[in-house]
Amino acid sequence: MSRVIGELEELILLAVCILDGDGYGISVKKEVERHTERSILLGAVHITLYRLQDKGLLKSHLGGSSEKRGDRRKRLFRITNKGMEQLRASQDVRQKMWSLIPQLTPGS
C-alpha cells in the first residue's frame, strides 16, 4: 500500500466516512462540494468511487430507491478497514511533514 493517495480520492474517502453508509454518487458529490466549495462532475465522483472500490478501500451494495430516481436503486458505499488505514496513513504523512516545517514566528 502506497503511503499517499490522490487528493480527490482522499476527499471522497473522507466524504464516504462522513456520510456513514449513506454515501452514493450524488450525496458524496454534494458533501465534497460543500466542504471544498468547488463543483465536481458526477462522472468524476463515480469514476473515483469505483477506482477506490477496485483498490479495496471501499465496499458497496445496491439499495434505497426513491421516486425522484424513477424507482432506481442507488449504490451505497462504505469504507473498508483497509480504507481507514489508508486515510490514517495519509493523515500521518501530512502530520509528519507539517511537524518538519521550521517554526516561524509571526512577523519574521
Partner: protein, 910 residues
C-alpha cells in the same frame, strides 16, 4: 417526474448510457442523473438542467465505456475516430473545403429556417387559438371575388341573433392616428397614438391577453374607458399607477374627450397580427350606437370564438344566409337599392379565417390592425434555404466521394489484414457522419453569432437559443446529420469495400473508378441553381431601379409634406398662410391624402338615367396642391378660389372619365365631360359638377395600374367624408435654389417645425418627402433583394468551393497523364486548355439549363407588377459570362499548377 414526461433529448442521453456503459452500472447512473436533473430543474431552470444532464451522461459514458461487455464497439469507435482524424489531416485542403461548404450551407438554411418559422407561427400563442376565427367577407367595394378582412358592424349583430354556434363574437375598430393628452401635476403632455383601436366589451373573452392590472370582464364595459399596454403606461405615467387616471383624446374640432384607464395589459407579443397600444370601449366611438346594424361601414374587425367541437365548414355554410337576410335593410336605406340590385348577382360571401392563418394568408392581403406577412417572400426564402442546403449537401457528398477513391489502397491493406466488409462500411459512414456533425455544430455557432446582423436586415427579432431545448429541433438536426452523413458515406462505403484487395493494391481501381458521371451531374445541378439565382437577383434589382425611374405623371421630387394637420383643426389655414410667406417654398397646398397613399374610395355614377354605379378613389385638396403636383390638365381648369361655386365642383382623371362613361379625349369630341354632373351614389345624391379632367398620374404605388380618381375641393363642406374640410396634410414644393445642401434643408425643416408649434404646440410634428414615400412602397421588395443578394453570393461560393475541390481532385488524379503529355511535347497552354475544358463544358451545360428556368421564374415574379422592366437578353449573357469566368478562375489555379508541374517529379514514383 414520471417517465412519460421525460424529454426526447434526455431519453436519447439515457439510451447513450444504456448502450455504452456496462450493465451493472446502468440502474445506478440513470437514477443519479434523474435525481440531479430534478434538483437542477428546481434550482436553475430547464435549460441548464437539460444541458447538464447531457454533460453528465456523456462524461459517464466516456468514463465507463470500457466496462461494457461487447468491448469491440467502443474500441472501434475510438479507432474509427482516430482514422477519420488522420485522413482529415492528411488531406487538409479537401477537409477544409468540405467543411466550409457544408457549414455555410447549414448555417444559411438554419437562419432562413428561423425566419420562416417565425413568419409562419404568428398568433399561435392564444389560449383559445384553435377556436378563434376572423370573419371576412367579399370585397364589396371592388372585386367581389376578393376576400376582404373587415366587415360592417351589422355582421356581429346578425350572428348574435341567428347563429348559436359562436360562444362570443366581438368587434374592433381602427381609430386611426389620435392625438392624446395627459395632464400630470398641471403639466400637459401630448402623444400621437398610431396603434389605437376601439373594442367591444367582450373582446377579452375572445382574446385572453393577460392583464397586469384591472378586470378583463369589466374593463371596456363603460363608454370612455380605455385599456393600455404596460409600455404605453410607462410612456404616459412613468412608474406611477395608471389605474383610474384620465387621458384625453383630441377631436378634429379641437375639443378633448376624457378617457378613464381601466386596465393595463402586458405588451402585445410581436407575433400577433393585432398590434395595439390602446383599446378604448367601442361605445365611445361617435355614431357606433346608431350605426351598429349597418353592413356597409366595412372597417370593423369581426372575430368569433366558436363553440368547442364546431364543424367549421357547416358553420361557414350557415353564415351565407346572413347577408341576403340582413344587408338588404342597409342597402335599401343608404343606396335605395335592394340587396340584389346592390350585389348585381355577385356573391356576398362570409368567410371564417382561423386566426393563425391571418398573418401569412395570401388573401386578404391587407390587415388593418397590424402587420401582414407576405407568403410569396416566405416561399421564396424557404425555397432558397432548401436549395442552398441541397447545394452544400451535394457538394459535401461529391467531395467525400471524390476524396475516398484516394483511399482505395488503405481499403486494400485493411482487407488483407483481415478487416470485414461491415467494418469498412462502418468506418466510412462514421467518418462522414462525424464530419457533418462538426459542420452542424459550427453552423449553429455561426448562426448565433450572426443573428444580430441578420435581424437588422430582415427587421425581425429572431433567436436561436429557445429552439435548442426543443426536441423536434434536435430531432431535425439529427435526421439531417444522419441523412447527409449516410448519403455521403454510403457510396464510398459500399463501393470501395466491395473491391478485391489484390486489385486495389495493384492500382487497378483508379482506372475503373466510375463516380464521374454522378459527380458531373451534381456539378451541373449546382451551377444551374447558382446561375438561375444570379439571373433572378439581377432582375429583382433591375425591376427595383426601373420603378424609381417610372414617370408617375406628377413631379414627386422636392416635395416636403407635413402629417397630422387635422390635429390643427381650422388652424391649418393659418399655418398654410404662414408657410406661404417662406421664400423656400414655391407653393404650399393642402390635401386629404398624399400620393402614393390615396386609399379613399366611394361609389358614384354619372348623372342621367341608367348610368352604372362605379367605384372611384377620391381625395380632396385645394387648387395649390394640384399646382404643386404639376398634374397636366387635358381639358378644363383647376379650382378657382375666387369662384364660390367651385367649392362643390370636382376634377376627375382620364380613367374616371372613361369608367363613368364619357369615353376618352379622342372619342368624346366636343361632348367633353366638362360641365357634366357626377352623383354620389350614397345618401344625399348630391350633384358634383366636373370642371376639369387631368391626365392619369400614379396616386398609389407604381405596383398598381392607375385607377379612376375624383378630386374634390377641400372646402367642400357638404360631402360626406371623414376628411372633407379637414385636410390631413400640408405639402410644400421646395425651391431647388434654397436647398443646396443638407444643412439648409435641416434649417428649413426646423423653421417649419417652429411655425407648427407657434400655431398649435400640441400637434405632433411629422414630415416626409414624396419621392421617398414612393420608394417606400417597395420596401418589402428591397428587403427581399438584399437578402436574396446575400444568399445568391452564398450559393455561388458554395458551388465554387465544390468546383474547386473537384478540380483539385481531378488535378491530382490526372497529374501522371498530364506529365506524360508534357514529356511528349504538349505546351502548358494546351494542357491548361485540356484540363479546363472538362469543367467549362459542365458550366456551359448549366448555363443552358438555367436560362429557361430563370426566365420562367422572373416572368412569374414580374407579373406582380403593373409596370415591369423588360426581360433583356443581355442579362442572361452577363450572368452566363459571370458564371463562366468565376468557374474558369476557380479551376484556373488548379489547371495551371497541374500543367506547370515538373513531369519528372510526378512520374518518378511508381
Amino acid at each position: 417526474m414520471s417517465k412519460s414526461q421525460k424529454s426526447i433529448a434526455r431519453k436519447l442521453a439515457s439510451t447513450l448510457i444504456q448502450r455504452w456503459v456496462g450493465h451493472a452500472y446502468i440502474e445506478e447512473f440513470l437514477g443519479d442523473l434523474d435525481e440531479m436533473y430534478e434538483d437542477r430543474l428546481a434550482a436553475r431552470g430547464k435549460f441548464i438542467a437539460e444541458g447538464m444532464y447531457w454533460v453528465d451522461a456523456i462524461h459517464l459514458t466516456v468514463g465507463f465505456s470500457s466496462t461494457v461487455k461487447k468491448q469491440s464497439h467502443s474500441m472501434f469507435i475510438g479507432n474509427m475516430i482516430k482514422i477519420a482524424w488522420r485522413s482529415a489531416v492528411h488531406q487538409k485542403q479537401f477537409t477544409i473545403l468540405n467543411l466550409l461548404g457544408l457549414t455555410l450551407g447549414v448555417a444559411t438554411c438554419l437562419a432562413i429556417g428561423l425566419y420562416v418559422y417565425d413568419e409562419s407561427t404568428y398568433d399561435t400563442f392564444h389560449a383559445n387559438g384553435d377556436r378563434i376565427y376572423r370573419i371576412n367577407q367579399s370585397m364589396i367595394w371592388g372585386d367581389w371575388n376578393e376576400e376582404f378582412g373587415s366587415t360592417g358592424p351589422g355582421v356581429t349583430e346578425a350572428i348574435r341573433t341567428d347563429i348559436p354556434d359562436f360562444e362570443q363574437v366581438t368587434r374592433i375598430f381602427y381609430v386611426g392616428d389620435q392625438l392624446m393628452r395627459v395632464t400630470i401635476d398641471d403639466k400637459a403632455t401630448h402623444f400621437n397614438e398610431t396603434k389605437y383601436y376601439a373594442a367591444e366589451d367582450n373582446f377579452f373573452k375572445v382574446f385572453l391577453f393577460p392583464f397586469l392590472k384591472g378586470d378583463p370582464k369589466t374593463a371596456l364595459k363603460e363608454a370612455n374607458s380605455i385599456v393600455i399596454t404596460a409600455s404605453t403606461a410607462k410612456r404616459y405615467f412613468g412608474d406611477a399607477d395608471p389605474m383610474g387616471k384620465m387621458i384625453e383624446a383630441k377631436s378634429t374640432t379641437g375639443t378633448y374627450t376624457p378617457f378613464t384607464i381601466t386596465g393595463v395589459l402586458a405588451d402585445i407579443p410581436t407575433q400577433s397580427h393585432l398590434q395595439f397600444d390602446m383599446l378604448s370601449s367601442l361605445y365611445s366611438v361617435a355614431g357606433f350606437k346608431d350605426q351598429r346594424y349597418t353592413w356597409i361601414w366595412t372597417i370593423f374587425g369581426t372575430y368569433g370564438l366558436v363553440n368547442k367541437g364546431t364543424d367549421v365548414a357547416a358553420l361557414t355554410k350557415k353564415l351565407q344566409a346572413l347577408p341576403p337576410k340582413w344587408a338588404g335593410q342597409t342597402t335599401q336605406r343608404v343606396f335605395n337599392q335592394t340587396f340584389e340590385q346592390f350585389t348585381k348577382g355577385q356573391p356576398w360571401t362570409l368567410y371564417l379565417q382561423p386566426i393563425q392563418d391571418i398573418y401569412l394568408a395570401k388573401s386578404p392581403g391587407f390587415n388593418r390592425f397590424g402587420p401582414k406577412g407576405n407568403p410569396q417572400f416566405v416561399m421564396i426564402f424557404g425555397a432558397v434555404g432548401i436549395l442552398v442546403l441541397l447545394l452544400s449537401s451535394i457538394n459535401f457528398m461529391n467531395l467525400s466521394t471524390a476524396r475516398s477513391s484516394n483511399r482505395a489502397k488503405e481499403v486494400g491493406v485493411r482487407k488483407v489484414l483481415g478487416s470485414k466488409k461491415s467494418t469498412l462500411v462502418r468506418q466510412f459512414i462514421v467518418e462522414s457522419v462525424l464530419f457533418v456533425t462538426v459542420s452542424t455544430v459550427v453552423a449553429l455557432i455561426l448562426v448565433q453569432l450572426s443573428l444580430n446582423a441578420f435581424n437588422t436586415v430582415a427587421e425581425k427579432k429572431l433567436s436561436l437559443l429557445p429552439h435548442l431545448t426543443n426536441p423536434y429541433f434536435f430531432g431535425m438536426l439529427a435526421a439531417f446529420i444522419l441523412i447527409v452523413g449516410l448519403g455521403a458515406g454510403s457510396y464510398p462505403a459500399l463501393y470501395l469495400s466491395a473491391f478485391k484487395p489484390a486489385e486495389t493494391l495493384k492500382g487497378k481501381l483508379r482506372a475503373g473508378f466510375k463516380g464521374t458521371g454522378i459527380r458531373n451531374g451534381l456539378v451541373v445541378f449546382q451551377f444551374t441553381v447558382s446561375i438561375a439565382l444570379i439571373i433572378c437577383t439581377f432582375f429583382v434589382q433591375k425591376q427595383l431601379s426601373y420603378t424609381r425611374t417610372i414617370d408617375v405623371g406628377i413631379s414627386k421630387d422636392h416635395v416636403l409634406q407635413l402629417y397630422n394637420m387635422h390635429q390643427l383643426g381650422k388652424g391649418v389655414d393659418v399655418l398654410k398662410a404662414r408657410l406661404q410667406n417662406n421664400s423656400a417654398f414655391a407653393v404650399v397646398g393642402k390635401s386629404s391624402f398624399i400620393p402614393p397613399y390615396v386609399w379613399g374610395g366611394d361609389r358614384y355614377r354619372a348623372e342621367g338615367p341608367d348610368q352604372p354605379v362605379v367605384d372611384l378613389h377620391y381625395m380632396s385638396c385645394d387648387e395649390n396642391y394640384l399646382r404643386l403636383l404639376q398634374v397636366e390638365f387635358i381639358t378644363g381648369r383647376n379650382f378657382d378660389p375666387a369662384n364660390a361655386a367651385d367649392k362643390y365642383n370636382i376634377i376627375i382623371n382620364e380613367e374616371a372619365a372613361r369608367i363613368l362613361g364619357y369615353g376618352s379625349k379622342e372619342t368624346w369630341g366636343d361632348k367633353s365631360p366638362l360641365g357634366k354632373f357626377v352623383v354620389q351614389s350614397f345618401g344625399s345624391e348630391e350633384k358634383l359638377q366636373i370642371i376639369g379632367v387631368v391626365k392619369d398620374f400614379n396616386f398609389n404605388s407604381v405596383k398598381q395600374r392607375i385607377e379612376p380618381l375624383l378630386i374634390m375641393n377641400s372646402d367642400n363642406d357638404k360631402h360626406w367624408s371623414y376628411t372633407a374640410g379637414f385636410p390631413s396634410y400640408l405639402s410644400m414644393r421646395l425651391n431647388p435654389a434654397s436647398v443646396q445642401n443638407g444643412d439648409e434643408l435641416q434649417r428649413i425643416i426646423d423653421g417649419v417645425k417652429a411655425e407648427v408649434t407657434k400655431v398649435d404646440p400640441s400637434v405632433t410634428f411629422q414630415y416626409s418627402f414624396m419621392d421617398e414615400e414612393f420608394d417606400n412602397t417597395f420596401r418589402e421588395e428591397r428587403k427581399m433583394s438584399v437578402v436574396l443578394n446575400l444568399f445568391t453570393v452564398l450559393a455561388i461560393v458554395i458551388a465554387c468551393l465544390g468546383l474547386f475541390g473537384l478540380a483539385a481532385f481531378s488535378a491530382d488524379q490526372r497529374k501522371k497523364e498530364l506529365g506524360i503529355r508534357k514529356l511528349h511535347g504538349a505546351s502548358i497552354q494546351h494542357l491548361i486548355f485540356l484540363f479546363s475544358s472538362e469543367f467549362t463544358k459542365l458550366v456551359a451545360a448549366s448555363i443552358a439549363i438555367a436560362i429557361p428556368i430563370a426566365y420562367l421564374m422572373t416572368d412569374y415574379w414580374l407579373s406582380n407588377f403593373a409596370y415591369r422592366t423588360p426581360i433583356d437578353i443581355w442579362v442572361f449573357i452577363i450572368a452566363g459570362v459571370t458564371a463562366m469566368s468565376i468557374a474558369a478562375f476557380t479551376v484556373g489555379f488548379q489547371s495551371f499548377s497541374a500543367a506547370n508541374a515538373n513531369p519528372v517529379e510526378v512520374l518518378k514514383n511508381e
